[in-house]
């Protein structure tokens, strides 16, 4: 039996009776056990719970009570989403022993749709990083090349899907953390519009930028998962009232979007092979009859600077609750309250997290607040306006590279934060503007490392993104190529 299935392929197999959800979950567990030792995409997997859920899904199917597209489909989650009774470490020592007492809204919704809540995936500590190297639990390796990083911070989510450990995963994206690893691992990664999917139960990194999204090997799967988990959540005031409806049945790929190509994005230094692959993708769309226009996003060069002020400011606030008092790691050496704070946080957080907390605390401190935080917010407005103008002028979608490089080597950039930060240069603007963005696999480099291009749409136009991606998928095979894992 073919184990390397997409969710829609698995659904057909379940429907035809070729395989049961339980059998398939068992096989996935075996695959993870034999192959993930090197890749390290999982922080944990509750086998009993997964098998129980799979059995229940099989039972429903046998009773003719199937819950729909995701019933019985295993979905793995980046370990910054709360699953009741399971560890929620966020890749951090400080939460090493924390079990969530509640389910995130996405988990509730997936359960309601019958999905099997599967693996807990590795990530950069508190989603801060672009390589999964900041995880306290060891770096994740890229299934395409074990010397390389899978990208980050949803590196586990991208690697697990690429390695065939699950058909679909959820990641979170604050500055590119779904799209960049998707690009590095040769899978699709969708960051929906800010507010499209409830953040309740997603451990906050930068609340005004964070957004949960799916990673998969097929566009249809993204649509089905998005349909299941989007929508208004009374527990999240930033969630958007409208749910995505229809799922994959709404996608036909018979669209001819006007595609804007921002000239500034192509002026940054980037790998030649990335550039030529992305250009080929643009040419493909042109051949399909799409109008391709050169456009300008004149303030995009400010986005990384603005992002690292806003994101760190919010992070310094969001991470204040990890203080050694209740559920977090508490230093054994602490002798008084101040030592509980200083030592527990000192021991519990890794270098990159500390760096960002210090940066964000500084940006918000009295006397600097206006010069940094306020200014960054103004830049954010400019960047949002850049996008709006183009969309008002008739551009349907914007196409860019997802990242300037293919997957870099482990240990290559981790000592150089600035270089690492610049890896997010193409993805950050969509977070600052709250726009949906999608990374589409579009080939591999001469070193057999995947390359992706990014599509960005107006707010709440995820289905336009998916339509355009489907148009590409219909005429290309990059998404079908598997990493060389000896299977």
């Amino acid at each position: 039996m073919e184990i390397y299935k997409t969710a829609s392929q698995l659904r057909s197999a379940l429907e035809s009776g070729e395989v049961s959800s339980e059998e398939w979950v068992k096989q996935l567990i075996q695959r993870i056990e034999s192959l993930d030792g090197e890749i390290n995409s999982h922080l944990g997997l509750d086998k009993e719970s997964a098998l129980g859920q799979a059995k229940a899904a099989d039972q429903r199917r046998a009773n003719g009570e199937s819950l729909g597209a995701l019933d019985g489909i295993p979905i793995s989650l980046k370990n910054n989403m709360a699953i009741k009774g399971q560890k929620l470490t966020c890749g951090s020592h400080i939460l090493e022993n924390f079990e969530s007492p509640y389910d995130a809204t996405v988990v509730e919704k997936l359960k309601a749709a019958g999905a099997v809540i599967f693996g807990r995936l590795n990530m950069d500590e508190f989603a801060m990083g672009s390589s999964n190297e900041t995880s306290y639990f060891g770096t994740t390796r890229n299934p395409w090349n074990l010397e390389r990083t899978p990208g980050g911070s949803s590196g586990g989510s991208a690697a697990a899907v690429a390695a065939g450990f699950c058909p679909v995963s959820l990641g979170s994206d604050t500055g590119g953390s779904i799209r960049q690893p998707a690009s590095f691992c040769g899978v699709y990664g969708l960051k929906p519009t800010y507010g499209r999917i409830s953040r309740y139960g997603l451990v906050a990194f930068a609340s005004s930028l964070d957004q949960i999204g799916p990673l998969a090997r097929e566009v249809d799967d993204l649509a089905d998962v998005l349909t299941a988990v989007s929508g208004l959540d009374p527990k999240d005031s930033s969630s958007y009232p409208e749910t995505v409806t229809g799922g994959s049945s709404e996608l036909n790929g018979e669209v001819k979007p006007v595609i804007g190509v921002p000239k500034e994005f192509f002026e940054y230094p980037m790998d030649e092979e990335v550039l030529s692959s992305v250009k080929a993708a643009i040419a493909y769309y042109e051949k399909q009859g799409c109008e391709v226009r050169e456009i300008s996003l004149p303030n995009s060069h400010l986005s990384v600077s603005a992002y690292y002020v806003i994101a760190t400011a919010e992070a310094s606030s969001n991470l204040a609750r990890f203080d050694g008092i209740r559920y977090t790691h508490r230093s054994k050496d602490a002798k008084d309250l101040m030592e509980v704070y200083f030592k527990s946080r000192g021991e519990g957080f890794g270098e990159e997290v500390k760096r960002r907390i210090i940066l964000g605390t500084f940006a918000l401190s009295s006397g600097y607040h206006d010069a940094y935080y306020l200014k960054a917010q103004k830049v954010r407005t400019l960047i949002r306006e850049d996008f709006s103008k183009n969309f008002e002028d008739g551009v349907d979608l914007i196409l860019t590279p997802t990242a300037p490089t293919t997957a870099f080597k482990i240990d290559e950039s981790i000592q150089d934060p600035l270089t690492m930060y610049l890896n997010d240069i193409f993805t950050i603007p969509a977070n600052l503007a709250g726009l949906p963005g999608l990374s589409v696999p579009c080939g591999a480099s001469s070193e057999n490392l995947p390359i992706g291009f990014q599509l960005i749409a107006p707010h709440f136009k995820e289905m336009s993104l998916l339509q355009a991606a489907k148009l590409y998928e219909n005429g290309n095979e990059a998404h079908l190529v598997r990493p060389p894992l000896g299977n």
């Binding site: 709360a82 930033s238 606030s317 605390t361």
Partner: protein
Amino acid sequence: MSDYEAVIGLEVHVQLKTKSKMFTDAPYYYGAEPNTLTNPVVLGMPGTLPVLNKEAIEKTIQVGLMLGCKIPEVSKWDRKHYFYPDMPKNYQISQYDQPLCEGGAVEIEMLSASRNVMGDHREIALTRIHLEEDVGKLTHTGEMSLVDYNRAGAPLIEIVTEPDIFSPDEAFAFLTALRNNLQFAGMSDCDMEKGQMRCDANVSVRPKGSEKLGTKVELKNLNSISGVRNGLEYEIKRQIHEVKAGGIITQETRRWDADQNMTYVMRTKEEAHDYRYFPCPDLMPIRISEEWKSSLGEALPELPFDRQRRYMEDLKLPYTVTSVLCPNRDLCEFFEAALAVHNNAKGIANILVNNLLSELSEASFGDDQKQLSDLPITPEGLAELIKLVDDAVISNQIAKEVFSEMIQTGKTAGVIVDEKGLKQSSDTGELEGICADMIDANPKAVEQFKAGQEKAINAIKGGVMKATQGKANPKLVDKILREMLS
């Protein structure tokens, strides 16, 4: 008197009376077992998010409307950061630069020396009122400190005054008036012992006549309205003493110790927190429409002082009665309902203020505090009782007995009067006989009355009332006695 004057500004925190907490549906009330009124949001568990409590926002707007504040079109939420174990997230969601209420004033009354007439009124200007979440409570027990998060996340408003208070007595009057307003409107129970109302004070001194403010000191741990007055009295004396001795007041936070009757330094300016306020990204700003505002305003009751003026002017009730009646919403509503049935404001108000309140306090003990609604008496029942007096069926004296009986038994006034045969006697023939006996029995009083001592007749009247067990119609007795003695 001193050549110095004090300038005081108050920051009053008041817990709003709402069904659930400020940012989640966990309930809040006083006195629950520690850490039972919590959920993942209250505890700041990773991944949880706040959502706004509409009732708390509406009550805050109502407090603002009551106190004449400007309610802006848009109000927003900010995070205020500092580390302390009573605060689960180590930041408090509060309002920094766009509070729900701006400006406004609280009308106060400075009690007059005699206490029988209305004292001077004036307004204390407010800076702002904002809405935030309360923190938990720490208990220190020897080596350990315990945290109770029941109170964490309870809706809390902070009312900030201008430096517009000039004496501890004014501060006392301000807090009294504020509490009366908020209690009357059902916004909060304002029980300082339960922490439902808490007050910090900023106080400075300056030479009289000076326009410049002195260096201010913040006073904390003022745990009662009297504590505020006492703490301020001490601190003002301390500051004046210091300045007179050529010293300098330093900007600092001091803690009032009510047991030792003194203040001591908690922290200096250098140790002040940098709160690093920034807009809370989890909460959207709120827009307040004119319609929303006006419907909230319409639901508000009359302010206690306005009601007092109305009762005094329109109903001719005396100050001493209205000053008890008006701050108490239950009493006022009861009063007006009884008044609608029987139009004798004085008669009804007197029995409420003089008799009902003492019945209530007799029925209450410790935590078992009785409300008016716990007593088996209705406005209609009270109206019936007063009507019996006004119709000369029973005397005022008997009415008090009947009232007490009504509360004990729940029976109506009419039934009690009938059962106990308490109808007052207007039988002239019978009363004439008793009056004659009493004149005979009190020769001294008769002599004094005839000599022009008007009050001497009361002794004879008292004898008649006693002989009839209070049932004689006092007006009739007076008439008969005067005829007989003339």
